[in-house]
Amino acid sequence: MRTALIAAALALAVTTVARAEEPELRPGPGRDQVMDNCGACHTLAYIPMNSPFLTQAQWTAEVNKMVDVFHAPIAREDIPAIIAYLTAQYGAR
C-alpha cells in the first residue's frame, strides 16, 4: 500500500512536473527514505537551503507539516528515519 502510494505520487510528479537535476544529499542513515519521499512534491534543494540551523524539534515540525498539512504520502514508519537524517546531516551545529 505504502509503495503503491509513493509510486503513484512519484508517477504523478514525473508526468506533471519535470524532475530537475537534484542536489546530491550527504550520505548517512535515512538518506534513501528522504530521497524516496521528500522529492515527490519539491526539489531536494529545500533541505540544504534550510541548513545548518534547524534543531531536531524544528525539523520534526517541518516533517510533520508536510505529512499533516500538505498530506505528503509518507509512510508513518519512515518518519523517524527522515527526522534523524535531517537533524544529523542538515541540523543546527
Partner: protein
C-alpha cells in the same frame, strides 16, 4: 511546447551556467551552496534557489532602474504544478461566491472590452523577502534582497468586476484561486482572500500587462491580482476564480500561513475578519530601502563617489532617504529621483566625499509620508517577514 520540455530546457540552461555570483554572506551556509545563477523560460540572469517549485530571486544589478525589467522580475511559487502557456490560453475567469448576486465567466477580451483600463506602478514584494538575512535564521525559502520588483501594471479595477457580479450586503472577503496546483491532490490548494474594503479599493487591479507587455508566464499569465501596498502573497497569479464570501476564508494559506504576531507591525487596514487572539495576516509592506550601485567590500575613490538606491513603502510614498557616515549620529538627506507614484520604488542618490583613504560606513534609512521609519533592529517573527532593518554599507576608499 509541453511543460516538461520547457522545464527540461530551463534545467539545462541553469546547469550550464557557472555559479559565479557571490551570494550574500549573511545567508545560511546551505543556501549559498545550492544557490546558482539560472532562470526559467522567458527569464534571464536570476538567482535560482529552487527550481521545483520555481523560486528565483532578482540580483542587485536589476534594481539599478526604478522599473524592474520583466525578464529579471523574481518568481515565487508554493506548488509545483504550473499550467503551460498552451493550457493557459484556454483560461477563463469565474466570479461568484455566496456574497455575489450572480456568477460571471469572463475572457480576457471581455475584461479589455467591458471595463475601463488602469495602469499603476507598484512594488510586488514577497512577504519573506530578506528572510535569509534573519538572525537567528528561520525556515522557509531563504531569500536575499531580491524577492521583489517594481512594475507598471495594466488591467481593470477589481471593484468594477465585482460590481458587475453584484456585491451582496453581507459580503466580507474576496477570495482568489489560481490555475497552479499541487502534485498531491490532498495538499491545500493555494487560495488567498482580502477584506472586501481592500478589494473595492480603486487601486486594486486585475492586471494582464506588466511594463506594457503581456504578463510573463511565471509572473501570472494571463491575469493576476495586483494589491498595491500589500505583500505579494495576495497578488494571485493565473487567477481563474474569484469568490465574494460572507464568511472568512479558512484555508491553510489564510488561517495558518502568512501570519504575524498581532499588532507587531503597523497597517492602515487590519484584516479584521482574520484576526485571532495571537496573530493576524500580514498586510502592508513596511518602509524600506536598498543601496543598488555598491555592495559591501567595494573600493571607492576617496575624493568622492555616489551612493544610489531605491526606497519604497506600503503606499504612502517616500518622504526622505537619509545617509549617515558616523554610525547614525548625524543624517543628511539624499536627493530623491522621479516620483512614479506612492506604491513604486523611489530612486535616490547622494555624493559622499570621505576625503581620506580607509573604511567608509554608510547607513541608509527611509521615512514614509506616514512617518514610518526603517528599524534599527530586526523585529523577530516566526515566519521571517517584514525585514526592513537600516542597511549599513561597508566600503573602502582609496
Amino acid at each position: 511546447m509541453r511543460r516538461r520540455d520547457l522545464l527540461a530546457g530551463a534545467t539545462m540552461l541553469a546547469a550550464s551556467r557557472p555559479a559565479f555570483a557571490q551570494f550574500d554572506p549573511r545567508l545560511p551556509e546551505g543556501t549559498r551552496q545550492i544557490a546558482r545563477m539560472g532562470a526559467p523560460p522567458g527569464k534571464k540572469d536570476l538567482i535560482e534557489l529552487t527550481d521545483r517549485p520555481p523560486n528565483y530571486e532578482t540580483p542587485l544589478d536589476a534594481f539599478r532602474t526604478a522599473i524592474t525589467p520583466n525578464d529579471r522580475f523574481f518568481v515565487r511559487y508554493h506548488l509545483s504544478v504550473i499550467p503551460d502557456m498552451d493550457e493557459l490560453r484556454d483560461w477563463r475567469l469565474e466570479i461568484g461566491g455566496d456574497g455575489a448576486e450572480r456568477s460571471l465567466t469572463l475572457t480576457l477580451d471581455d475584461l479589455r472590452r467591458d471595463f475601463a483600463p488602469v495602469t499603476i506602478a507598484a512594488v510586488c514584494q514577497c512577504s519573506g523577502n530578506r528572510r535569509g538575512l534573519f538572525q537567528p535564521h528561520v525556515p522557509g525559502v531563504e531569500w536575499g534582497i531580491g524577492a521583489m520588483g517594481n512594475a507598471r501594471w495594466t488591467g481593470v479595477r477589481l471593484r468594477d468586476v465585482l460590481v458587475r457580479a453584484g456585491v451582496k450586503p453581507g459580503a466580507l472577503e474576496v477570495a482568489f484561486n489560481g490555475a497552479d496546483s499541487a502534485v498531491v491532490e490532498e495538499t491545500p490548494d493555494f487560495l488567498k482572500s482580502i477584506p472586501l474594503a481592500r478589494a473595492m479599493h480603486p487601486d486594486t487591479l486585475l492586471a494582464w500587462e506588466m511594463n506594457g507587455e503581456a504578463l510573463p508566464h511565471y509572473n501570472g499569465f494571463p491575469l493576476r491580482v495586483v494589491v498595491p501596498g500589500w505583500t505579494a502573497t495576495y497578488w494571485m497569479k493565473h487567477v481563474n476564480r474569484i469568490a465574494l464570501r460572507t464568511t472568512p476564508e479558512d484555508n491553510f494559506w489564510m488561517k495558518a500561513a502568512y501570519r504575524v504576531p498581532r499588532g507587531l507591525f503597523p497597517t492602515d487596514m487590519p484584516f479584521a475578519s482574520q484576526v485571532t487572539t495571537g496573530n493576524e495576516p500580514i498586510t502592508q509592506i513596511m518602509v524600506n530601502s536598498l543601496v543598488t550601485n555598491l555592495q559591501d567590500g567595494a573600493r571607492v575613490p576617496a575624493a568622492g563617489f555616489d551612493i544610489e538606491g531605491i526606497a519604497w513603502d506600503g503606499g504612502h510614498g517616500i518622504r526622505t532617504v537619509e545617509v549617515s557616515t558616523d554610525r547614525g549620529q548625524t543624517w543628511r538627506p539624499a536627493t530623491l529621483g522621479e516620483d512614479l507614484g506612492p506604491y513604486a520604488f523611489r530612486s535616490w542618490t547622494m555624493r559622499l566625499q570621505p576625503g581620506r583613504a580607509g573604511p567608509v560606513q554608510a547607513m541608509v534609512r527611509a521615512t514614509s509620508n506616514a512617518g514610518q521609519v526603517q528599524v534599527a533592529q530586526l523585529v523577530p517573527n516566526p515566519a521571517g517577514y517584514h525585514h526592513n532593518v537600516i542597511q549599513t554599507l561597508e566600503v573602502t576608499a582609496s
